[in-house]
């Protein structure tokens, strides 16, 4: 006999479930706060920190972008700051640089860690040792890592590390950060090296979540490493790849420390100026905090678009 329904657990239809929480049994506010004291205490701390250090400055920045302060008197100037910022020749140069950096960071900074992770995952020996080696640069403070690149790797003289290697390979040397064409690729190379470890670990975790049977089946079907990557690895890590691409875009569009340290700010003829650096320059070198705020709001809007896409992707993954 097939079992259909266990006896005694059927419910009579027709009576709707009581609304939650039921009216008379609802606890008072004080009681509910007391019951969840620990949670509320933590929440207050977190909310207070966010309010002071994130939300308030953000709102203040938006307000400031419509104001102008002269002789200590603040006046409402409408869109003036935005018009001024849009007319600044460095504005478009900075956006062009930022988009170029983001593009290069997607090609290099995004793809390289994935392939390193795949390689590490495929390795049979010395896996742990190599993982540590790949992760080590993340532990260096960004400024130290960038100074290493600035003074040793990117030294434009023939004594520079990269130029020595190029010379040994009988290739032409480069001016690195002193060449307008090389500024962006050089910054992306340094940035990729610095940040690769974290991404590699995330990819590795995703790769190790792929059921081994899929690879076994592919191997039985005669698939080599490249076909296994194409038909098993990439489809199985698709969502992680998409999420990290989005995070990469949002993070790299705010690049700041690379131009500040590697290029002493703007680089040769604005070739290194990023939008984030331009905000800093307006605010702290040009005595134009209102213009900086307007630029910050423009950037916020652009990044909000990418973040919205990220949130949608996250929801899809959940």
């Amino acid at each position: 006999m097939a079992i259909t329904t266990a006896p005694g657990i059927t419910r009579k239809p027709g009576r709707p479930a009581p609304p939650y929480p039921p009216g008379p049994r609802r606890a008072s506010l004080g009681r509910r706060v007391r019951d969840n004291l620990t949670g509320h205490a933590f929440l207050i701390g977190a909310v207070t920190c966010f309010a002071f250090f994130s939300w308030y400055p953000m709102v203040r920045g938006v307000v400031m972008s419509f104001q102008r302060t002269r002789r200590g008197v603040t006046t409402w100037v409408g869109w003036d700051n935005y018009e001024r910022i849009l007319a600044d020749p460095s504005f478009w140069a900075a956006w062009k640089n930022t988009l170029y950096f983001t593009f290069l960071a997607l090609v290099l900074g995004y793809a390289v860690p994935f392939f390193v992770a795949v390689l590490l995952n495929e390795l049979r020996h010395a896996k742990g040792y190599l993982r540590i080696l790949v992760y080590l640069p993340v532990m260096l403070p960004p400024a130290s890592a960038l100074f290493l690149f600035k003074f040793y790797a990117y030294d434009p003289s023939d004594a520079g590390l990269f130029n020595s290697i190029l010379t040994a390979l009988h290739l032409p040397t480069s001016q690195w950060m002193q060449s307008a064409e090389m500024t962006m690729p050089a910054m992306v190379i340094a940035s990729t090296w610095m940040n690769m470890g974290g991404a590699v670990l995330i990819y590795l975790a995703a790769l190790q979540g792929i059921p081994g049977e899929l690879y076994e089946a592919a191997e039985l079907d005669g698939a080599g490493i490249w076909r296994r990557i194409r038909h098993v690895t990439i489809p199985q890590t698709r969502l992680i790849l998409a999420l990290l691409a989005m995070l990469q875009i949002v993070a790299t569009m705010q690049f700041f420390v690379e131009p500040l340290i590697l290029a002493n700010g703007t680089g040769t003829q604005d070739s290194a100026t990023s939008v984030a650096y331009l905000i800093y320059q307006h605010g702290f070198f040009q005595n134009d905090l209102n213009g900086a705020a307007a630029l910050g709001v423009i950037m916020l809007v652009v990044l909000a678009g990418f973040s919205a896409a990220y949130v949608r992707l996250s929801a899809k993954q959940d």
Binding site: I44, P89, S179, A180, T268, Q269, F284, F285, Q286, N287
Partner: protein
Amino acid sequence: MSVPQYRRVAAMALAAGLGLGLTACSTKSDDGGTTAAGKVTITVDCQPVGSQKELLANWNDDVAEFQRQNPDIVVKSVSVGEQCNNPPDFTARLAGGTVTDVFYGYMTDLQQVLDSGQAMDVTELVTKETVPTWDSVDPALKEAFSDGGKLYAVPVKNYSMGLVYNKVLFQQAGLDVNNPPRTWPEVRAAAKKIAALGNGIAGYAEYSAGNTGGWHFTSLLYSQGGQILTPDGKKADFNNALGKQVLQNLKDMRYGDNSMGARQLLQWGDLLTNAGAGKVGMFVGAPDATQAIVSQFQGRFQDWAMGPLPGQDGQALGTLGGGEGYFFKKGLTPEQVEAGLKWIAYQKLTPGKGQFDYVRAKPQNYPVGLPQPLLFSNGSDAQKQELALRKANANVDTANFAAFETNPVPIKGEPRNAQAIYAVLDAAMSGVLTNPNANIDALLKTAEDKVNQLLATQS
């Protein structure tokens, strides 16, 4: 205590800690500057940093002695790293309203300070009674800190630019160490000889980043007789034959003669680091550049000398001058301003005391004998006293600065909105120093457009 109880207490403590921490951050300690005992308190910044042990000890001794002489005044010193020489940090503190009661600023900061609405008009308060040497202070410096006929800061230091050169490298290159180049063509010829020594040595080094490129472009333009802005300060005035000459000279040296070294995009510390390492033959700088080379970049005083800023075909037609002073925060009580003025008078403007205590500085790792600070007018009583003290206690060879001192070049102040303009002009400097195909006309035109736009929006 049970585990849940313990967690609850820990959470409360954490929340309370956070709340208190944030409250503490927003609490102002401003009590009007007067304590219950009737003492007037002032906060003053630019206390030397801890690594400058002797300077810090001197400062603390000065505070102690000043308070002994003025028992009704309490001086609270503030030091936040190298904040006094860091424009972004200064801007942040100004914008955040966290400057001290008496706060340090460059001459070029005047407009920024006025815009922030934080400077106090001290015209009526600075007198011979509050600052005994006030009549001796160079009127041009007072003017530099004035706006609309009102004085907003008390000048405490002044400098002008010249040609700093390395005597050792001059000797090695067969150049006359006592006769530095007087014209830009002579600089170019000397730079070639020094660079020919090899070993990565730059015959002449120049800035092109971090606003210092624009700062030096201005100085080089002044040497040609040019100016950055029109006299009314409303338009850029460097996109002309003189501006072109400045950039052409540099481009010729960098790519024609290859005498400026491989590394460019230098800012202040980069150039001085190279200089301290003996890799720079000549550069444009103020006398205190040699002090920085010694104290921060492991160089030696005896290696360095200074000549006047070169001109194009003869003596320079002008040289950049600048300086620093102390502002007074708006809202101070008259007693606090008076106390602040007394302190500045004691520490910064009295021959034999504070920054002029050469007897104390002589045995220390601090130079005495540099032709700086140019604070008092020529022939004034204070200048005579200061010069006599400086000569009697010199611990650097004043002969190294004789060429600079005996050939004074007319000093010209920095332009309005100097730091913002310097940031723009960095691009023109980096253009000719990093791109052999740089188009000088285009560089100057772009910079001109940017500066004009900047001036239009700042007016």
